[in-house]
Symmetry: C2
Subunit: 358 residues, 2 copies
């Protein structure tokens, strides 16, 4: 199996540790001691070697990726000339891989996700590989833990497919957009729905076949890029073609209309680390519910706080349910329930022309 | 007029900007651009020259005082061999001054107080000087702004004394300890009560006369220290005598039993900067009631916060009534109403043997 790791995002919601110059996937957001992309590569290391791993990112992050994953061959860093949605990026990975190994299975992963139970995650990834070998576009579905309204859902078929391996694999009845709360609650009470984790596992020929059938314009662009690979025209052609490719997501562009899609359920504590408040599900809290992600702190009469500190000590006195993120040049203090508004801080800093802080 | 500025305190309640190595009087707590002792000297500069100003502090702070008040003659820094209460310190200043100018008037001031209306404060100080020349131990009394339970109170005489000058001066009927809330409320509704600011203005001979009469043991020690001044025995005698002096405050030891005490009322926005939450009375707040004492900040959906920042930007999101103090190596985040508990942080750091942070 090969892996293509999507690492092109900016991660504004994790400011101030996530910056334009160091987006969250290149930062240690979770306090693990590794950056998120390092953790992503390590997590699957026994399944996919660095030699078979591709990273898709922007030109400005090429050197970060190379520094952080030193075992990765330089040629495996695939640069997206500009930020587009997932379908062009995945198509780019696929044509690189087809040139190298046309029978390959590719796992499309995200550089900024976390799985609490990594062993189970890898087991399910292997089950998905078996489904992919059997001709399916396999997608991982996380058992929903609560009626989240910020994720897409997948409705599975009633019965499991007949696929080798120890873990159930289902057909996909429907992809569902982010639901309202009542709908999400119905999904949970009915059962058979999963959160769409955004991990796709497929034979590369089969996936490119879906591009050709469903996104012929995008596929034509990919063919032009592919024809120039390993020539001195590779970069100019990529630069020319890339901006003309339809800016569409893999879910909308391919998965929803694909022929044989399978979902492999997993219950591995998936976390997309979409905002600071999700961190408390990743790290143990103390008896007062305070979660020290990293750094050093003193808690006096304080409960339910999340601390992502740096070198300085952080003392809390009589405060509850705060998120505190301390970096060298910026400090964020927010209420857990309103921490999504950190985007407004970034907007305000942009207005003030404080590009150094973005 | 001469001044003796008491600068021996430690200021734990203003951690982390106030440290053992840099107590609050030597720090810029209020965001004025001056340290508190610099502001104290500047405030009275047109009344008392540095040549006539004495600073009382510990040996470990002698060089800080010299650096921060470069115009002060080195001999005017009077070192207390160990931290004692106010009566020994004031007695020490008095014997130094008696040697130099036995007819002098001395104003005993604190290095860590702030007055919003400095011009009015100086006017009242001058009025107190007139009262002192007339033979009174004069004391400043602040018009109480609310029924504070943390200050001592002074009950004035019914009628004003006959003292020259444009401002009323009253006799003192009684000194009152820190009252409970009901008592403080009664003081305010009755009228004629003042907060004891702890500024004393007196002829030095008269004040030493009160020491001799009321604290004869302490006075005997002072005489021994005085006899050795300007000899090579000055320091050894001070070191030997100092620990034997009664550890008593000027209020209990002298003022409460003094013969002729006068109170000069002032309404100059006195603030003893006893804790971080008092800072919001010193600096203008924005429309959301956020008070930026120093530093740079972004406020999103946040109200009533007090920020004492440093070099890094501080972004608040959806939080109310916090105190945030950011220094190079420590960060304090507390609820305004519980910020007195900062002492527990200092205790905890002591327990952890983090002497670098105390």
């Amino acid at each position: 199996m090969y892996a293509a790791i999507l690492a092109g995002g900016v991660g504004t919601r994790l400011w101030p540790r996530s910056r334009r110059s160091l987006p969250k996937q290149f930062a240690d957001i979770t306090g693990s001691g590794q950056t998120m992309i390092q953790a992503t590569v390590s997590r699957i290391a026994h399944l996919v070697t660095p030699d078979r791993t591709f990273i898709l990112t922007g030109e400005q992050y090429r050197s970060l990726a190379a520094q952080q994953i030193p075992a990765l061959p330089a040629a495996n860093i695939l640069v997206e000339p500009s930020g587009r949605s997932t379908a062009p990026a995945i198509g780019l990975a696929c044509i690189h891989l087809r040139k190298r190994d046309p029978d390959a299975v590719i796992a499309i992963l995200h550089a900024d996700h976390v799985f609490g139970d990594e062993a189970h995650y890898c087991t399910i990834l292997q089950q998905a590989e078996i489904a992919a070998q059997a001709g399916y576009l396999a997608i991982l579905g996380a058992e929903p833990e609560f009626p989240h309204t910020g994720y897409g859902y997948i409705k599975r078929s009633h019965s499991a497919l007949t696929i080798p391996g120890d873990w159930p694999v289902f057909g996909v009845e429907r992809f569902l957009e982010k639901p309202d709360l009542a709908t999400a609650q119905r999904f949970l009470s009915e059962g058979g729905y999963y959160w769409n984790v955004g991990n796709f596992i497929s034979r590369v020929d089969l996936l490119l076949g879906e591009f050709e059938r469903q996104l012929p314009e995008l596929y034509a662009g990919l063919l032009r890029i592919e024809a120039a690979l390993d020539t001195d025209q590779a970069t100019p052609v990529l630069q020319e073609v890339w901006p003309t490719l339809p800016n569409i997501s893999i879910d909308h562009g391919i998965m929803e209309g694909a022929g044989q899609v399978a979902v492999v359920p997993l219950d591995a504590g998936w976390n997309d680390v979409g905002s600071w408040d999700t961190l408390e599900t990743l790290r143990p809290a103390d008896e007062q519910g305070n979660c020290l992600v990293q750094g050093d702190s003193v808690f006096i009469a304080s409960r339910g706080n999340i601390i992502s500190g740096g070198n300085r000590i952080i003392a809390l006195v009589g405060v509850d349910n705060l998120v505190v993120v301390d970096t060298g040049d910026a400090l964020l203090i927010g209420h857990k329930e309103q921490i999504q508004q950190v985007k407004q801080v970034v907007d305000e800093l942009q207005n003030r022309d404080r590009l150094d802080l973005l």
